[in-house]
Point group: none
Chain length 191, copies 4
DNA sequence: GATGAATGAGTCTTCATTCAT
DNA sequence: GATGAATGAAGACTCATTCAT
């Protein structure tokens, strides 16, 4: 029955990859990652067949963590505004609290190493947000715009907001709130 | 200085770099770029001392082109809304018309290879936009928010919009307009 | 010694090694062999201490099979020509019927991984052939040449013949006979 | 015009490859070859794109040298027997004088790394031998057998003979002559 | 200045072998 | 004994940069 593959080691590698990639970019050597994870160079490849595999797994892992952060305690019963605010706040705070993961996420997305499968897997956890947006449109609170457009808007503003909160932690609340108000103003029907 | 450096060659290299980096990522080999530019491998290094230098120069070059696209014919005399719409439209259209340059710009920004100098140089051409925003705040059309925050908001929404226009060219106008309206609604004071 | 080593497993590994080495060369990974044999990677090493050990064992195994094919039903009582023809035919047919084993044999011999011990062991089963040759020389049917030279001649011609039979199975008989006649003509005293 | 590729370096690499492969097998590291050739590791790859390319080039190079050795001073006007003896002797002596090249040739042929192109190129220099054999058959000196079969016979016997000459240099002449007589007896029509 | 051969450190990945389970 | 995860030394090949021509 040999030694079973260790979840701990897998996680250590993913964590190390996050650190190393965040600091040196995706071009960082796999050997740096295995070293940071405290495993042998070869071990990395028993958990992830190739560097690209590692990248894809890391992407999913981070996305999953993000989804969890955003959707836990989701106030299903509250108003559209409250629900959107919940998601917004959680997203921004996650990005501020996990700058490395956030940075790596961006790099992976822009690098073009993701499989279609991973892209889909990364999207999956966010269906509930879409559902919320859909119902909001239906009740005419939010303008009639394509859902992906709305989602992308939120994301774009949230990412931007994170940057400001990171740079000016003292004004965190200001930026967090201002960002949200801009989003809300942009999305809702006028008057 | 027998033969002077050729502006043509420099441009050929920058253009080739845009193509190659856009297609293969910043990890692409300099030899691929020199080949695409039709010059020898060594020649690239007489125009740019290192690969990082090339990256920085490319960044500035693209930013300059972008600034030019945005600010030419700038309607200094018109309303804040008109001026903002001008900038918005130009930005979005530039991104749609120059997907490779846009893609490379993003990669460079996210990769962390930029010198402070380059970052500043990249910002410079956009001072006029800032000025516009400043005056708009002063006259209380736009909310009293930090200028960089406003600029970043515009950028974030514009980049997102580009993506949609690229994917749905037939609805270009819809996305372009919707994006702008969201920006405007977000920035202006609520009555 | 709770569980005794299984002869089956050993054989499975040797058979798998024949297949894998024949197809991918001696550089093939031991893990490919264990996989093909349906055993764990580590198991291979309980049956053969090192890859070189496996190679040597495989060599002997194949040689043994070959000797068996050649010497079974050996017509001890018949004429020199009949006995030589028997050996010739059996050798050629074995090579045609076992192309992988034959191929691996050649690779091992040419690769220089054999111990002296294995070389000797590989020769052993062929003593009877030598004996036959010796007596043939004594009775002056065959020219007075060093025995190993005679053996090598037969082998060289037989291996060559195998190749032709493999490539032109329809002319198998022609090549088999022609080859033998050449051998016989070459070995016997000219009148 | 930069430094031109040096024929010397190319030859040094090929010579080093012959040595190293002969001693350690085709699995030998390219770094061992570049070191033996006195060039940097990378340099090997500017002359041969891959290890397989090197193998193929080496094969052609050796075959060319062999053909040259065999066919120079070819006695076109003499009898079939003399011409065959010429080729035979040259071949055997080449193999004895160039044991490393000969060994490497065998390894490459058995390893299955040759392109069809290389195989053809390796055959080309030997057309004259075929022509000779053809005419010999026509004049009914040699038995009517497929040409490739005849060629292969000569080769098989010659290679075997080389081995004996190498092991017993003092009896070189004996083996050389005996081998040839066997070949001649085998090929010619009886009576 | 232009060229491209030369360099060798660095990359990802493989693999024989060991050893915890 | 069987298993397969762990190991780390190689290995083939790449690439930014230098420099002879």
């Amino acid at each position: 029955m040999a030694r079973p593959r260790s979840e701990d080691k897998r996680n250590a590698i993913l964590a190390a990859a996050t650190d190393v990639f965040a600091e040196r970019g995706l071009g960082a050597a796999t050997s740096a990652i295995s070293a940071a994870a405290g495993v042998a160079e070869g071990t990395l490849f028993t958990y992830f067949r190739t560097k690209d595999d590692l990248l894809n797994a890391l992407y999913r892992e981070i996305k999953l963590g993000l989804a969890d952060a955003m959707m836990s305690d989701f106030p299903r019963k509250k108003s559209v505004r409250d629900r959107l605010a919940h998601v917004w706040t959680r997203y921004v705070r996650w990005g501020v609290a996990n700058p490395k993961a956030h940075r790596v996420l961006q790099q992976i997305e822009v690098a073009g190493a993701l499989t279609e499968e991973s892209k889909l897997a990364g999207l999956a956890p966010f269906v509930e947000i879409q559902a919320m947006a859909e119902s909001a449109i239906a009740q005419r609170t939010v303008q009639d715009l394509p859902l992906p457009f709305i989602a992308a808007t939120m994301r774009a503003l949230a990412e931007m907001t994170m940057g400001f909160v990171r740079q000016h932690p003292d004004d965190a609340e200001l930026y967090e709130r201002s960002g949200f108000e801009m989003l809300w103003a942009g999305l809702t029907r006028k008057r």
